[in-house]
């Protein structure tokens, strides 16, 4: 099941590095803070013992213990600062190293309100497009190019790495190296319209063999339906509103304004994390998307009951 969406998970190399850096910063600054407060308390507590002032001219003649304490204090502050600087530098360098040798190239395009995910293979026949799901092999550095089709979105898998904005007309990127397998939730982290809340991305980190199995299955075109009801649904999807926006590889539906549906039924959720994937929710979603996600670009079609049964039967074959 889903792990808790948390920045303290450290299931990615970047997340873990930042977490240790933050821990170090917190420890060092806490020690200094407590020392400052302790000295302040001490100074308030102790009676003023000497009467010398700046005017008297003998302030330079500090007693040796105080001078030693002052030198020690300056040395301590400098050491702390040097430790923090070096730690920041090393973290930066480690992250740059992950980014410099990507083994997997992914492109993610943010739309209102869903994620278009493309795996750029070695050649076009190895390129895979999916939507609202991201599969990553564990221990493999992945380089993700981020684009936006409409407004500013932000890509954020809290358990794996920090945020990166998707900006219209520009290209940004982020590198992720997951270190533990699991199911994680990613959420758009920049308000992008009325359905910003329902713009989640299911992230699956799995071992290499599982990832390759998923990838090869994803490259396959959609199977032609065999059951009569699914065939009727296929006919509806191909000739009516659905094919105007959606792509189903291996069929005539080849539009890219809505999420790719080629392997829809194998995903964990519907409509960018709005609903869990199951038959009932498929019915609900196809029958009236605007009741489930008001403002979504998928219109309420007003399907007749027999058309609805057929379309859902076809969608369920898209494993």
């Amino acid at each position: 099941m889903n792990t808790v969406q948390s920045v303290f998970g450290g299931q990615g190399a970047e997340g873990a590095q930042f977490l240790s850096l933050m821990t170090l910063f917190t420890v060092v600054t806490t020690i200094i803070y407590l020392l400052v407060l302790a000295y302040l308390a001490l100074a308030l507590w102790r009676r003023r013992r000497t009467e010398h002032t700046v005017e008297s001219g003998d302030h330079a003649a500090e007693p040796p213990p105080q001078r030693t304490a002052l030198i020690g204090w300056v040395a301590l502050v400098n050491t702390g600062l040097i430790v923090l600087t070096v730690a920041s530098f090393l973290t930066d360098r480690a992250m740059a190293r992950t980014a410099s040798s990507p083994a997997l190239e992914i492109e993610i395009i943010g739309h209102q309100w869903w994620w278009d995910v493309k795996y750029t293979g070695a050649d076009p026949s190895q390129s895979l497009e999916t939507a609202n799901e991201l599969h990553l092999p564990v221990g493999v550095p992945a380089h993700i190019t981020l684009k936006s089709a409409d407004v500013i979105h932000s890509f954020w898998v809290p358990n794996l790495a920090g945020k990166q904005d998707l900006i219209p007309g520009r290209q940004t990127d982020i590198s992720i190296k997951p270190t533990r397998t699991g199911l994680f939730r990613s959420q758009c982290a920049e308000f992008c319209g009325v359905q910003h809340t329902h713009m989640a991305l299911d992230v699956t980190v799995e071992n290499r063999a599982d990832f390759l199995r998923w990838y090869r299955a994803g490259l396959q075109p959609a199977k032609a339906p065999t059951a009569p009801l699914a065939k009727a649904g296929y006919a509806y999807v191909m000739t009516r509103q659905c094919a105007m926006c959606h792509n189903i590889t291996g069929t005539e539906a080849g539009s890219h304004f809505g999420p790719d549906l080629t392997h829809l039924a194998s995903r964990r959720s519907i409509a960018a994390g709005t609903l869990p994937m199951n038959r009932g929710n498929l019915y609900g979603w196809v029958a009236d998307p605007q009741a489930n996600k008001p403002g979504s670009k998928m219109p309420t079609l007003g399907l007749e009951p027999n058309e609805l049964h057929a379309v859902v039967a076809y969608l369920e074959t898209l494993k």
Partner: protein
């Protein structure tokens, strides 16, 4: 300033709040089984015809044609459904221009919706069954807005594409029927 004067000013300011009426975003389209067109069909409108002046504006058309949300949605559909392919961004190409005041099949919103649903000879395809009724009304609302017939506060101030024409908010209002008053 005297205290009654100040009080009445405050009261007037409160009354002004009534002006902050938020536009309804009816994303669902009610009722679900609404039908296009209302009143006008392909048979009653033809080039050089009476330009559909007998058609009365339906309440549905009124709901779409000055609604900023629907016009903005129509603008997106205009690009996605490849209207640009023939009409360009309004200037026309293979298809006629949409930013001028000439309408072969009528420039009222029902007539534009009819044109989209039925298609027209010499290239305009029919979108019947390919788009929902709501989407067709939205598209018609945007096409109507392109010729500057729509209220300034309802149209987008910026286009989605690079453009060297003034924004819709600055476009001169074109009368639908020559001699008739343009929409205020």
């Amino acid at each position: 300033m005297s205290s009654p004067c100040r009080a009445s000013l405050a009261l007037a300011a409160v009354a002004l709040l009534g002006g902050c009426d938020r536009e309804e975003r009816d994303s669902r389209g009610q009722p679900v089984t609404e039908t296009v067109p209302a009143g006008a069909t392909a048979d009653t409108i033809y080039p050089g015809g009476p330009s559909g002046s007998t058609v009365t504006l339906s309440p549905k058309a009124a709901a779409y044609e000055n609604n900023a949300y629907h016009i903005a949605q129509g603008q997106q559909l205009y690009g996605q459904m490849n209207c640009v392919g023939c009409h360009a961004h309004g200037g026309g190409g293979m298809g006629p221009a949409l930013i001028d005041d000439e309408w072969r099949y009528g420039g009222r919103i029902e007539q534009i919706a009819t044109t989209i649903v039925e298609g027209r000879p010499n290239g305009m395809p029919s979108f019947r069954g390919k788009l929902t009724d709501t989407q067709i009304w939205e598209l018609a609302a945007y096409v109507r807005a392109m010729s500057g017939q729509v209220r300034k506060d309802a149209v987008g101030a910026r286009t989605d594409e690079p453009s060297n024409t003034p924004p819709l908010t600055q476009t001169r209002r074109e009368p639908i029927v020559p001699g008739e008053d343009a929409t205020p």
